[in-house]
C-alpha cells in the first residue's frame, strides 16, 4: 500500500466514498485516485459495484454508461460489462478490474486494492 492510500483509508483499507443516495440509482459516480478513476455503480436493487473506469475494449469510461440489471453498457461502442465480475458479456472478451465495496448504514466504502483475477490496466 502506498502512502497516499494510507492517508485516506481506515486501518482495514476501506475508503469512505459517500452516502448511497449520492450515487444515482441505475447510475454511477467516479472516485478519482492517483492510480486512475474507479467507477462506483448503483443498480435498481441498490446493489453497489466498483470497477476500474476503463472498458476492456478501448478504455471507454464505464461510469458514463447506462446501467441495467447487473450490467453496464459502455458509452463508446456498446460493449456490455458484468458489474459483479467485471467480465465483458459474451461473445466479447475482456474484463475490467473489480474493487471490493461494502455498504455500512447507507455509507459506501471502497477498497483501493483491486480484486485478483483481472489485471488492473
Amino acid at each position: 500500500m502506498n502512502q497516499a492510500q494510507q492517508r485516506v483509508t481506515d486501518t482495514e483499507g476501506w475508503l469512505e466514498v459517500g452516502r448511497i443516495e449520492e450515487i444515482p440509482s441505475l447510475g454511477a459516480r467516479v472516485v478519482r485516485t492517483p492510480a486512475g478513476d474507479i467507477a462506483v455503480f448503483r443498480n435498481a436493487d441498490d446493489e453497489i459495484f466498483a470497477l476500474r473506469d476503463k472498458c476492456p475494449h478501448k478504455g471507454g469510461p464505464l461510469s458514463q454508461g447506462i446501467v441495467h440489471g447487473r450490467r453496464v453498457t459502455c458509452p463508446l461502442h456498446d460493449w456490455k460489462i458484468h458489474l459483479d465480475t467485471g467480465l465483458a458479456v459474451a461473445p466479447d472478451e475482456g474484463c475490467a478490474a473489480r474493487f471490493p465495496v461494502k455498504v455500512d448504514d447507507g455509507v459506501v466504502h471502497l477498497s483501493l486494492a483491486a480484486d485478483e483475477g483481472c489485471p488492473d490496466r
Binding site: A4, Q5, R7, V8, L15, V17, G18, E22, I23, P24, S25, L26, G27, R29, V30, V31, R32, T33, P34, D37, V40, N43, A44, K58, G59, G60, P61, Q64, G65, I66, V67, H68, G69, R71, T73, P75, L76, H77, D78, K80, P91, L112
Partner: protein, 811 residues
C-alpha cells in the same frame, strides 16, 4: 424437483427449441431427447454441400455430444420412439423409456417415394439424412457410375448437382415441363436449366416414371413412353410428407400434420409440436426459417413466459448450387388482378420479376443477381406500399449511396479480405468464418459474434446476403415482427400505441403492462421508452436521465478519450463579433484543444473535461449562447445561405426563414437527430435536399422537401409540397416534425421512416388534410412549451451538479 421435459426428434426444429429454452430458463427442466438417427444434432440443410464435396459431415454438426452434456441434456441416439403412454406420461423407445411433464414432438418429415414397381430395389435412395448421403457417396465412388434423379425440384437439383460433382453421369427426370415449377416461373426456370446443362446435367422433361428396373440391385428406369435409361443409382426427390405417424398413433389430432395452435400446443396441452411435422393454421412448412420461429414461441411457453404467439410465416427459396443465384418468394406467377414488372438481360443471364397488386409486392423471382432478394422479401412481408419508388423498384435497393463500400455489392464475388462493415472493420472472410464455425443463422447472431452491422447498420443488407449465401438456402430471416429489443416481444408500434391508449406514464408501467423480460430494461429499450413517454406526455412525464445516452445526459458529446465537446447554437448559421469573442475567450480561458468549424455551420470546442462543462456553459450563457444540441436525438442545425438579402440570385430571405425555423424548433426531442436547411434559390447552397426538412426558395414561394439524409446512406429529399408564405413554411415544418416525433421508431431518421410509411402517407397527413396538419402543428407547439428550456443555463446554475464532479477525490 425439476419438471421433466422430453423431446422426440433430435432434428433442427426440436433442438433449436431446446436452445431457445435454455437461454430463457436454463434450470427449469430435466431434459431428455430421443433421436432416431445415430448422430447428435446436425445441419440437415448442409447435406447438399456435403454431397457436393464442399463440406464434411464434421463441419455440419450443430451440437456435439459435449453440448448435451454441458447443458445436462440426456440424449438417446439411434432410439426410435414407438409409442407414448399419455395417461401415465411415459415415452417408450425399445428398452428405454422416460417420464415427462411436458413433451415436444419434432419428428420432421419423411421423403415421399412414388409407388412404382421396383421402388424397393437396392440403390433406390431418397435424400433426407446422413445415411442417404453416405449411400449416394458410396454409389458415386464407383467409376463411370450413372444416376437418375427423379424430381426437378429444390432437393432433386441439389442432389443431382452433388452427384455430378462427384463425377457421376446424372439425368434429372421431371414430370412437369419446367424445373422447380413451384419456386420459379418459366423464364427463370429456363435460365436455370441452361446453367445446369452447362455444368453437365442432363434433363428429361415431362417424363413419367413407369418402373424402376433391376433384380435386387437397380439397373435403370423405364418411362411411360417406353424410354429406358440405365442407372446404378436412383434418387427419389419428389417431395416430403409431414411425419406425424407417432402423433396420430397416440391419438393427437392430425390432418396433414400434427395440428397445433398459436402457442405450438397440440390437442393435449402437455404436448407441444414444432417443425415439419406440424400443421399450423392449415399450413405445413419445409424450410428452417419458419421452424425456428416456431421454436422460439414454443420455448417461450415452456419457460412459462407465455406471451409469444406464432402467427405463420412467409417463406422464400434459394437453391444451394454453387455458382447459381436464384431467389423466389410469394406468388410470382400472378393473375389477371396483378401486374408484373420484369427486367430481362439474357446477355448477362439476368432475370427479375416482381408481381404487384395494389402497389404491394405479392411475390418475386430472380435469377442471376439475387442481392435484392432480401429487400423484396421484406417489402412483401411488411406489405409496404411501393408506389413512391415503383419506377426504380427493379433496379434494387440502390446501395450506390452508401459511403464506405461504394457499389461493391456482389457479395459472392467479393474477396475474403473485402471490408463489409466499415465501422467495425469486419471483412467478408471473418463473417463467413463465424457463420460456419459457430453455426450462426441469424443477423443478430452475426452481430453479436462479429460486430458486423452492429453500429451504423448500413452493411446490414450485405451481411444478410452473406448469411443467405453461406448458410445456403433459407437462413433465418429476421422475424416479421421485430421486437423493440430482446427485453420484449412487442414492436415499437405496439408499445407506442399501448403507451397512448392505456395512459402509461412511467417506464415501469410500460414494462409491467408489456411483461418485460428484464426488471429494468437494457441500454437499447430504456432510451427508446424514455423518448416515447416524453413525446406522448409532454409536461407530465418526468424525464429519466439515467435512461439517456451519456451525450444527452451530460449535454455534450463524449470523445474517444472521455473528454467532451461543446457546440453552441448559431441561429441559422449566423453569428456576431460578440458571440465570436465569447467563444474565443472561453477557448483561451479553458485551454480548449481545438476549435473546429463543424459541418453544420457552427463552431465546436474540443477536449474539455466533464468538470469544466458547467463553468464553460456559464461563460457562454453570459454572452447569450445556448446549447446547440449537437449531442442529442433532437433538433440539430438549420443551415442557411445568405439568400435574397445579399445574393444576386436569391428569391426569398432564406436566412431569416432559417433563423425562424430554428427558433421555433430548438429544444425539441426527436426519434433520431433532425436537421434542416433553407436555401435562397434552387442552386441550393445550404444543401436543403439532403436534410430531414429542407426549404428551397423559389420566385413563387417555397418548396418544402422532406426525408433527406447526408450520412451513411445518402438520400435526396422528396418534395412534400409548395407553399406561398413563410408562416406556411413554419406550420408545415411543425406538423411534419410532430408526425415524425409521434410515429417514427426510436433511432429511425426521417429517410428510412418515409421509406417505411411512404411519402403518400405523409402527404395525406400534412398536405391533403388541413385539419390533421393543424392538429399536428398545435401538438408540436404544446410540447415545445416544455422543451425550450436551455439545459446549459440550468446546469451552469447548479442543476444536476453530481453529474459533473467525482464523488470522491483521493490525492
Amino acid at each position: 424437483m425439476k419438471e421433466k421435459l422430453v423431446l422426440i426428434g433430435n432434428g433442427m426444429a426440436g433442438v433449436r427449441t431446446l436452445e431457445e429454452l435454455l437461454k430463457l430458463a436454463p434450470e427449469q427442466y430435466d431434459i431428455t431427447v430421443f433421436g432416431g438417427e445415430p448422430y447428435s444434432n446436425y445441419n440437415r440443410i448442409m447435406l447438399s454441400p456435403v454431397l457436393a464435396g464442399e463440406k464434411t459431415i464434421d463441419q455440419i454438426m450443430l451440437n456435439d455430444d459435449q453440448w448435451y452434456a454441458d447443458n445436462g441434456v440426456t440424449l438417446h441416439k439411434g432410439k426410435w420412439v414407438e409409442t407414448v403412454d399419455r395417461a401415465r406420461r411415459v415415452v417408450h423407445a425399445g428398452d428405454v423409456s422416460a417420464h415427462y411433464d411436458r413433451l415436444i414432438i419434432a419428428t420432421g418429415s419423411y421423403p415421399f417415394v412414388i409407388p412404382v414397381p421396383g421402388s424397393e430395389l437396392k440403390g433406390v435412395i431418397s435424400f433426407r439424412d446422413i445415411a442417404d448421403v453416405d449411400a449416394m457417396l458410396h454409389a458415386a465412388g464407383r467409376p463411370g457410375g450413372r444416376a437418375v434423379v427423379i424430381g426437378g425440384g429444390l432437393l432433386g437439383l441439389e442432389a443431382a448437382n452433388g452427384l455430378n460433382k462427384q463425377g457421376m453421369d446424372v439425368t434429372v427426370v421431371h414430370l412437369m415441363d419446367s424445373l422447380m415449377e413451384r419456386q420459379l416461373d418459366k423464364p427463370a426456370a429456363e435460365l436455370l436449366r441452361t446453367s445446369l446443362e452447362a455444368k453437365g446435367l442432363k434433363f428429361l422433361m415431362q417424363a413419367q416414371t413407369e418402373a424402376i428396373l433391376g433384380a435386387g440391385q437397380v439397373q435403370g428406369v423405364r418411362f411411360k413412353d417406353g424410354l429406358e435409361v440405365p442407372a446404378e443409382l436412383v434418387v427419389m426427390a419428389v417431395g416430403i410428407r409431414a411425419n406425424f405417424q407417432l402423433a396420430e398413433k397416440i391419438g393427437l389430432h392430425c390432418e396433414r400434420g400434427v395440428v397445433v395452435n398459436d402457442t405450438m400446443q397440440t390437442f393435449d396441452p402437455r404436448i407441444y409440436a414444432v417443425g415439419e411435422c406440424v400443421q399450423h393454421r392449415g399450413q405445413t412448412y419445409g424450410l428452417v426459417a419458419p421452424l425456428f420461429e416456431q421454436a422460439k414461441v414454443c420455448a417461450n411457453h415452456l419457460a412459462h413466459i407465455g406471451i409469444a404467439r406464432y402467427e405463420g410465416s412467409v417463406t422464400s427459396t434459394k437453391l444451394k448450387v454453387t455458382g447459381i443465384d436464384l431467389f423466389s418468394a410469394g406468388d410470382f406467377i400472378g393473375d389477371e388482378h396483378t401486374e408484373s414488372l420484369v427486367l430481362q438481360d439474357p446477355g448477362r443471364g439476368l432475370y427479375k420479376k416482381v408481381v404487384l397488386k395494389d402497389n404491394r409486392i405479392q411475390g418475386a423471382v430472380m435469377y442471376g443477381d439475387t442481392i435484392d432478394g432480401t429487400w423484396y422479401f421484406e417489402l412483401m412481408r411488411d406489405r409496404t406500399d411501393i408506389s413512391d419508388f415503383r419506377d426504380s423498384l427493379l433496379f434494387g435497393q440502390a446501395h450506390l449511396g452508401d459511403s464506405g463500400h461504394g457499389d461493391d455489392n456482389r457479395v459472392a464475388a467479393m474477396a475474403d479480405s473485402s471490408e463489409i462493415c466499415g465501422c467495425n472493420g469486419v471483412c467478408k472472410g471473418e463473417i463467413v468464418e463465424a457463420i460456419t464455425q459457430k453455426n450462426l443463422f441469424t443477423l443478430d447472431d452475426v452481430r453479436a459474434h462479429t460486430k458486423a452491422s452492429s453500429s451504423c447498420g448500413s452493411c446490414t443488407g450485405l451481411v444478410e446476403a452473406l448469411l443467405a449465401h453461406t448458410v445456403g438456402g433459407d437462413y433465418s430471416q429476421s422475424p416479421a415482427k421485430k421486437p423493440l429489443c430482446p427485453c420484449t416481444d412487442f414492436t415499437h408500434d405496439e408499445i407506442r400505441t399501448g403507451i397512448r391508449d392505456h395512459e402509461l406514464k412511467h417506464m415501469s408501467a410500460v414494462r409491467t403492462y408489456f411483461e418485460w423480460k428484464t426488471p429494468d430494461g437494457c441500454s437499447k429499450c430504456r432510451p427508446a421508452l424514455n423518448y416515447y413517454l416524453l413525446c406522448q406526455w409532454p409536461g407530465e412525464y418526468q424525464d429519466d436521465s439515467q435512461s439517456r445516452f451519456i451525450n444527452e445526459r451530460a449535454h455534450a458529446n463524449i470523445q474517444k478519450d472521455a473528454t467532451y465537446s461543446v457546440i453552441p447554437r448559431m441561429w441559422g448559421g449566423g453569428t456576431t463579433p460578440q458571440e465570436l469573442r465569447a467563444i474565443a475567450d472561453v477557448a483561451e480561458k479553458y485551454s480548449v484543444r481545438m476549435v473546429h468549424v463543424t459541418g453544420g455551420q457552427r463552431l465546436a470546442l474540443y477536449g474539455l473535461t466533464k468538470e469544466q462543462l458547467p463553468q464553460i456553459w456559464g461563460d457562454l450563457t453570459q454572452a447569450g449562447l445556448v446549447s446547440g444540441h449537437a449531442y442529442g436525438k433532437a433538433l440539430r442545425t438549420v443551415k442557411t445561405c445568405v439568400g435574397r438579402e445579399w445574393c444576386r440570385f436569391g428569391t426569398q430571405d432564406s436566412t431569416a426563414l432559417g433563423i425562424d425555423l430554428e427558433k421555433m424548433t430548438w429544444g425539441s426531442w426527436t426519434p433520431h437527430k433532425f436537421k434542416m436547411a433553407a436555401s435562397g434559390c434552387p442552386r441550393n447552397c445550404a444543401e436543403a435536399t439532403i436534410k430531414d426538412f429542407g426549404v428551397v426558395c423559389v420566385d413563387s414561394g417555397y418548396e418544402l422537401h422532406v426525408g433527406g439524409n447526408g450520412g451513411v446512406k445518402v438520400r435526396a429529399t422528396d418534395l412534400l409540397c409548395h407553399v406561398e408564405t413563410p408562416q406556411q413554411v413554419l406550420d408545415y415544418c411543425a406538423a411534419f416534425m410532430q408526425l415524425y416525433r409521434e410515429e417514427a421508431h426510436y433511432l429511425e431518421r426521417t429517410a428510412p421512416w418515409i421509406e417505411r410509411v411512404g411519402l403518400s402517407y405523409v402527404k395525406a397527413k400534412i398536405v391533403e388534410d388541413s385539419a390533421s396538419r393543424e392538429a399536428l402543428t398545435q401538438r408540436f407547439h404544446y410540447a415545445q412549451q416544455f422543451a425550450q428550456d436551455d439545459p446549459w443555463a440550468a446546469r451552469a446554475k447548479g442543476a444536476e451538479a453530481h453529474e459533473f464532479v467525482p464523488i470522491k477525490q483521493v490525492s
